[in-house]
Symmetry: D4
Subunit: 217 residues, 8 copies
C-alpha cells in the first residue's frame, strides 16, 4: 500500500507539468498535437464540429485553436501555426470554415467605401500600431479584408497555402472542412454543384454584386 | 389556444433568423454584442474564464471569439474586430492573455535563427501567399513573431492599441484581463509587483536572456 | 494513432449513408428490417408496446411504421407494405391493434347516415381525388369505413390478409398482437373467452346494436 | 384536509375517463384535437419535428397519428381523418412529408414491371381482400403506388385534397410541412428554387428517368 | 440571525418527538392519521396503489399498515385497528384487497384435508400458543382459513365488518378498494359484471370446485 | 437474429407467469421464498431494516409481508404463515419487532377499562363478526390485546411459538430481530442488559405500572 | 445591461476578498462567525452532526474547526479560540464530543506505564520542543493525557471552562453537544440516566478500572 | 443461496465493529492508518487538498484529523498524535498548513498588548483551568500564541518536531505540505524563492513589522 505521502507527491508533480507545459517546447505539446484554424463566428461550434475539446474547464483542453474572421490564411495564422508546429509539438492542422459566413455577405469595396465615407483613408493606416514594419501596399485594403466569393474554394486554397508555406514543416498533416450551418454537419470542401447546392457557399444568395478582390488565380 | 400551425410557423421563422443572422449585419449581432481576443493556448478556457459561451452546441454561442498565438494585436485581429464592430453589431471587446504563455518562453531572435539554420531566409518570405501586398520590412521578422517580455505590459498595450485604432469605433467598450494558469483565476493586468509575484508573467522564469524586439516604447 | 483527418472522414461518411439510405433500396433497410401496422390511437404507445423505436430523435428510428384508423388492412397498408418489403429490405411485419378501439364504438351504418343527413351522398364521392381510378362500388361505403365487431377477430383476419396477399413476399414473417389499453399489456389475439373477458374487445360494451358490414366470412 | 378515500375516488375516475375516452366521441378527444398525416419513414421523427407526443408511455399521447408510405392522401387517409374529425373531436390536421423520401427514388412503371416479371398481373389483383368492392381501374396500378416527382408539390397538393374533400369538415385547420432529412429542420413547402436547392426534393437526384404517373394537373 | 445553538436545539427536539411519538398517544399520530389493511401478497404494492408511504427510509412513514393473508377482517385486524383508532390518533381506515389473490385459488376444505393427511388434527390445535384462551369451535378450521369465493364481495363485507364493530369509533372514515393485478390499477369493489369481467375476482378461474365455508349471509 | 415475433412471445409469457403466480402454488413462490412478520408501526421501515423489497412498484416485490400491532404471534399470523409455508413455496420466516413500540406504552388493563367506561363489555364481543366460531374466554380480553412488558422477550417467544407450531413445516428457517428506532439499526433480540440499555425495550420508560397479562411462563 | 467588463470586475473582486479574508480581522470573519471544537475521531462527522460546512470544496467553508483527541479544552484550544474570537470575528463556540470516545477506553495511568516500560520518562519530556517555556509539573503526565471518565460530564465542564476563561470574550455564545455514535444523532449533554443509558458515555463499558486523574472537582 | 438470517447476521456484526472500533486499539484503526494535522481555517479544505475523507457521512471517515490555529505543533497536537500512533493503529502523519494563514497576519506582541490594554495580565493566566499543572513561564505568552514569520519554515520545523519527539514512534511516516489558498493547489514546503513567490507565505505582505517570538533557531 502506498503512503499518502507518496500519493501526494505524484499528484502534485503531474499538475505541475500540465500547468507549465509550454516551458518544455515539443515535449509539452497539447494532447492531440493539433492546431485548428476556424472562423470566429458563434454559429461554428468547434468542439461539436470536430469532436475535440478546445474550450473546456481548466486542465482539459486538448488542442490549440486559432480563430479569425473567416478562418482564412493570414500572416497571423501563419505566425501562430509556425510557432506551434516548429516549437510546441504540433503535428496536424485542421481548418474549418462554414457556410453562411459573414465573409460572403458584403462586397469588400463597399466596406472600404464605408470607411472613406467616414473620413478614414485606408491607404494611410498603420494596420498594427505595434508593428509598423508590416505594410500594406496602397490599394490593397479591400483585398486585405479577406472577403470570399466561395467558401469551398477559399477552404481548398487555405489548405494549399499552409501546405506550401516555407515556415510550416513539410510532414504536417493538413486538411480542410466545411461546417454547414444549415444542416449542422461537417463535410469536405467540394465544387460538386449537387453537394454545394444544399447550403449557402457563395456570395450570390447574399445579394453581393461583383467579385471580391482576387487572392488566388 | 394557438393551433399547431401557428406554433410551427413561429418556430421555423426563429431558427431561420438565427441560422442566417450574419446576413442582417448589426441587426443580426451575436447575443452579447461581444468580440473576444484570446490566446490560442489550451490552458486558457475562455468560457470558464469569462463566464460566456464561445464554443457550444450549435445554436447557443453568444460571442465572436478571435484567438491567436499570444492573444495579441495583429493586423488580422484588427481586421476581424473592424468587421464585427462596424458591420455585425459588436459593442464590446474583451482581451484575455494568460500567465505561463509560450510567447514568454523563447527569445524571438533564437526562433529566427532556427529558420535561418534550416536554410530559410525570413527576410524573403511572403507571409501570406494569398496577399503578397502585405509586406514586412527586412529585419522585422523577429519582431513580427510577437514574443513578449511581460504579459501584463502586453495586455495593457494591446488594449491601448485597440482603443486608438482608427478602424475601431470610438464608443466600443474595451477591457483587458489576465488568466492566471497557476491559480485558475482571472485578474486585471497590473504592474504591482506583489500581485504579479504569484505567477509567471515575464520571460525571466523561462530563462530567456535579453529583451524581445520592442513593439512599443 | 489516427489523425483527426482520418477520424473526420469516417464520421462524415457514416452520417451520409444514414441520411440517404432510402436511395440504396434493400441495402439501406431500416435497422430491424421491420414494418409495423398499428392503430393511429394515442392510447397505443407503439414504442412501449413493442420495445422498438419508431418515433425517436433524428437518426435513431429502427422500423417503418404505418398507422391508420384501426390498424387494419387497407389498400394503402398493402401499398406501403409492398413497397418496404419488395424494395426497401423489410423482412418482418408486426400488426398491433388495441382494445377499447374507437372502431368498435359506433355502427358504420350510423356513420353513413350522419353524412347523408348532412346532404353528402357517400355513393357518389371520389374517395381520393388524386386517384379517381380507385372506385368503391355503390353501397359499400359503410363497409369501407372499416368498423369492427371484434378486435381479436379483426387482428387475426388482418394477419391472414397480409399472409395471402400476392404483393407481399411469401417469406415475410408476420404476426399480430393486441395491446390492452386497460392493462397496458400486449397479448396475442385470441378467441378464448377467459382471456378476452378482461378487456373490451367487441362492440358490445359500447352499446352498438347489430353487426358491422362483414369483411370476411 | 381531504380523506384518502376522496383522493382515491378522484384519481380512479380520472384514469377511467382517459382509458375509455374513445367511447365519448368528440368529448373524449385527444389533448391537442389534432390528427397528423406523416410518412412511415424512420428518418422522420414526428415528435421532434412537430414538438408533440404521438408515441409516448401509456397515458401521455396527445394526438392521432396516421402514417403511410409518403405521407400522401389515400382513401385510407381520408377514411381515418373523416373518422377523427367528424366523430372524435379533432379540429386540426397537420401533414408532414420529408426530403430524401423513398417515394422519389424509383419510377412507378419500373415497380409495376418488377411484379409483372415475377408473374403477378397488377391489373387483376384485389387490393384489399377484405374489401373487394374497392376496385382499381385497369392500367392504374402504377399510379396507385403513389410515387412522387416533387415532394413540395405533393405536400401542397395533399393539403389541397384534404381542404376540398367533402368528408372533412370545412372549419378544420389544415397545414402541410416538409421535414428536411439533410438539415433536421422543418420548413413550409415551397417552389422557391433557392429554398429547395438545399435538399433532395425531386426524383432527379435519385436518377429517376421520366415522370411518375400524374395525380393532379 | 439564529445562533447555531438555537438551530441545533430545534432540530434535536423535532427528531426526539418523532422517535418517541407512540408515547404521546393520539397527539403522536402518524402523519395521515391512517390505518391501512392490505393483503400480504408481493404483487400488491401498497405505496403505488394508494399514493402513500408505508415502507420508507426511517423517519418518513406516514401511515400504519396491517397486512395479512387476504387483507381480510380477523380478530387480529380488529385488535390492531382498535389500538390505532382509539389510542394513537387514527381517523381513517383504507382496506385494499386484490384480484388474482391466493385466497381465491384453493378450496379451504382441501387445505384442511392436507393437514389431516399429514396426521394433524385441525380440531385440536391451539391456534396461538401464547393465547390459549382464544378458541375455535370444532369444525370451524376450514372457515377460519379465510378463503374467498369473490374478492369484491369480501372487500365490501370487510368494510361492513369494520363499520359495525363496537371497538372501532363510529366517526372513523372507512373505505375499501380492489387492486387489479392484471391492470395495475385501483378500483372500487363492485358486483357490476362488466367491471369485474376484466380481472380474476372469483375462485372460478382457479378451478376451485364448490363454495368456501360461508362467513356472511 | 431473433424476429420481433419471437421476442414478443417470450416477454408476454414471462409477465403472464408473474401476474398469475399464486395460481401455481409452491412453484409460483415469491422471489426470496420469504415471509416476514413485522409491526405495523410507520417507524419500522421493513425494506431498509432487512434489505429486501416488500412494498415496491408493481412487479418487483420479493417477499410476503404480514404486519400487525406489535409484530406478534396471533392466530391470524399463524394462519397467514401456514398458507404461505405450506402452499406458496415459502421456506424462511423473519420476525421484526422494534423498540419504542406502542405495545409497551400502556397497560392492557387500562385499555380494557377504557372500553368498559364507554359502555362496551369486552367479555361479550364477537371479535370477528365473520367468524363467530372464534371465541375468547371471558376475562381474556386484556391478554388478547397483546401488550408487551419487554420487546426482546416477546421477540424470542414469538420465534419459539412459530418454531413449535404444528401448522408450520419443521424445516422452515426462522429468526427474530429487533429494529432499534433510536439508532436506526437492527440487532438480534437479547437479554444482555448492556446491549438493551441503549434503547427502550420495556414498558418501564413509558411509565407503565404493573405487568401486562402474561402470555408465556 | 451591464457590460462584461463590469461583470468581470465584480467577480474578480469578490473572490479576492474571500481568498484574503484573514487579512481583514473581524471584518473578514467566516460566514457563520463560528468556531467549533470537536474530537478528531473519524466516527464524528462534523458537517452531518451540525449541519454546517467545515470541510468543503475550496471557497465554501463556513466555520473554523478545531479538532483534538477528545474535543476537550486544552491550552491549544484556548489559544485557537482566543485568536478567532478576539481577532477574526467569531461570535459563537460549539463544542462536540461523542460517545464511544477512545478517551474513555483506557486508563491514563496504564498509558503512562506504557511509556515508562519503553524507557521513556514522562516526567522529563519537553511536550512541545518549539515552546520549552511550557512546562508540565512532574507527576501530571497522566492527567495531561486528558482521558475521560464520563463524556457528558467532560462536555459540560468543557463548556464551563470556555465560559469562564479570561481570554474568551464574555458575550460569546457557547454550547456543548454529544454526538451519539450508536444512534448517529446529536443530543445535549446530560446526567439523566435514562437518556445516557442508550449509549456508552463512561469508561465502564470499556472495562476501565478506577478513575482517571481528576481535572475538576 | 444464503438465508436472510445469515445475511442479516453478517451485516449486523460489521456495523457493530465499526461503531465500537476505538475499543479494539490498534486493531480498530481508521482505514488509512492516518493522522492529519491541519490549520482550522475554513479556506483549507482538508478532503479536497489530500484526497481523503475526514468529515463525511457517519460511517465513512477514513482518518483522524487534528486541527488548530496554524496547524502547528503544540503539546495538544503531540498528545493527540501520541494517542493515535501508540494506541489506535496510526502509521502515518500528514501535516498541512496554508498560505494566507491568519497566523502570519499580526505580530504576537501586539496581540499580547491587546489583552494587557483590556486589563488582562497574560503572565498570570491559567491556560487550561482543568490542568493547572501546565505552566507557561512568565514572558512567554506572545511566543505561546504561535504566530509565524514564514509558513514554509514553520511547516518544515513542524515535521521535524514530530520526527524527533520521544512520544511518537520512530517508524511513523511523516510529511508536511502547503495548501496554496491563492492557487487551490498543494505543494511541498520549500524555501525556493521562485516557488514561494506565487503566494503569501510570510508575514511581510500582511504589513507585520518585526519578527515573531522565535520558536526554533
Amino acid at each position: 500500500m502506498k503512503t499518502l505521502q507518496e500519493e501526494l507527491s505524484t499528484r502534485v508533480e503531474a499538475y505541475d507539468f500540465w500547468a507549465t507545459r509550454r516551458r518544455y517546447g515539443p515535449k509539452g505539446a497539447n494532447n492531440l498535437n493539433l492546431w485548428v484554424l476556424a472562423c470566429m463566428d458563434e454559429r461554428l461550434p468547434v468542439d461539436e464540429a470536430l469532436g475535440i475539446h478546445v474550450d473546456t474547464p481548466a486542465g482539459h483542453g486538448d488542442a490549440h485553436c486559432f480563430r479569425n474572421a473567416g478562418g482564412i490564411v493570414t500572416d497571423d495564422a501563419i505566425r501562430s501555426a509556425m510557432l506551434t508546429c516548429n516549437f510546441f509539438g504540433t503535428k496536424e492542422i485542421v481548418i474549418v470554415q462554414h457556410t453562411q459566413c459573414g465573409m460572403l455577405s458584403v462586397n469588400a469595396q463597399d466596406l472600404e467605401k464605408h470607411f472613406r465615407d467616414k473620413g478614414i483613408d485606408p491607404d494611410n493606416i498603420t494596420l498594427d500600431s505595434t508593428l509598423p514594419e508590416l505594410k500594406l501596399e496602397k490599394g490593397a485594403f479591400a483585398k486585405w479584408i479577406g472577403m470570399m466569393d466561395d467558401v469551398d474554394v477559399t477552404c481548398m486554397k487555405t489548405v494549399e497555402a499552409f501546405k506550401n508555406h516555407p515556415l510550416i514543416p513539410k510532414d504536417t498533416v493538413i486538411s480542410g472542412w466545411i461546417w454547414e450551418v444549415e444542416t449542422r454537419r461537417l463535410r469536405a470542401p467540394t465544387l460538386d454543384p449537387e453537394k454545394r447546392a444544399r447550403t449557402d457557399v457563395t456570395s450570390v444568395p447574399f445579394g453581393v454584386k461583383g467579385k471580391q478582390p482576387p487572392r488566388w488565380s
